[in-house]
Symmetry: C2
Subunit: 204 residues, 2 copies
């Protein structure tokens, strides 16, 4: 995969799937083949989880195959997410089980492990030439209602899956965001040496 | 990378880095080069996060370079984790900030995004020939104390990083776990079609 302008700027090299991952808004009008989507959810399925509880479920709809289902998922998106999200090939809501039936006590890694599963799913998507845009901006109560999610489960995050399109399909505001460079805090603020706040000499 | 007995058994193929990832206990007595460890934390650094808050910090110690720091991290591990964790090349505690200074209100994705960062870190580790074993079984209060983690931050997970060793270095109980096949719930229980509980025809 060629390096894009959105590629991570790193001091130490990272795998292309990770370096070239970002969260676009411009998606192409193109269906995702069944086997490709299958690979993406297999990747989530094989993510690690605390006590192997696998506290994730995905409610999904493909725009080209289930217009009604896609409209239901789209109706839960908020603000700008709805305006560009309508072009995604697939929308999903990821759901967790904070108090699992199958294990004693609350699962303190319920959200954490959904995060891991979504990360694995995103990286498999990259491996298939697809991009994911995760969204916190969706109406959780509406999602519960229109997707019929039972009380013991909790909607965590929404996401769009699709093939990249040219940013020119976006509104001016969105196009600006689409083309902005990515940024991160310095490694020195994220990695400490054996004690909080102690800069690691190699990663300063 | 050759397929191992621990490789994921999938209906749809997934990237080797994801398929061959698992959480070993047998680690080799081998230091991780500075640049390799740098790549692993760069991968975490470039993980996605809600509002780009990057709510993760890693307190780390390398056994071959900082015996005292390593011993401090090791002292926080519980039960069996301590017995095999002592052989890791690097131990870490990942820490989050549930109520960020830099943004209004609590961050509902604090744990979720640490999960994503740890997943990216794990996959980069695989890409460098290393394995990660994440652990929920560590003493959070002791970690806070010995690593001097301030009140506003929260220890989330511990992890061991290292090169694979032969399972024969483990106790009999641990060896048995090390050689057990990996398992996951069926895709049909994890992926629903536009409505909770509705099996997706392609992923049944």
């Amino acid at each position: 995969m060629p390096k894009s302008d959105k590629s991570a700027v790193t001091t130490y090299p990272i795998n292309d799937l990770l370096a070239n991952r970002w969260s676009p808004r411009a998606f192409a009008d193109r269906a995702i083949p069944t086997e490709v989507l299958g690979s993406i959810f297999e990747a989530a399925r094989w993510a690690p989880s605390s006590r192997n509880l696998q506290p994730w479920h995905f409610v999904i709809a493909a725009r080209h195959h289930d217009a009604d289902g896609f409209a239901r998922l789209l109706s839960t998106l908020m603000g700008a997410n709805k305006s560009w999200g309508k072009n995604a090939s697939v929308l999903l809501v990821a759901v967790t089980e904070p108090n699992p039936d199958s294990a004693p006590g609350p699962n303190r890694y319920a959200h954490y492990d959904v995060g891991q599963a979504m990360a694995h799913l995103s990286i498999q998507a990259m491996s298939c030439g697809l991009f994911i845009h995760q969204m916190g901006g969706f109406n959780r109560e509406k999602a519960r209602e229109v997707l019929e999610i039972p009380d013991q489960y909790e909607p965590v995050v929404s996401a769009a899956i699709g093939y990249l399109a040219d940013p020119s399909i976006l509104s001016d505001t969105m196009k600006k965001r689409e083309l902005a460079p990515r940024s991160r805090n310095p490694l020195a603020e994220q990695v400490f040496s054996a004690k909080w706040g102690q800069t690691h000499p190699d990663y300063a």
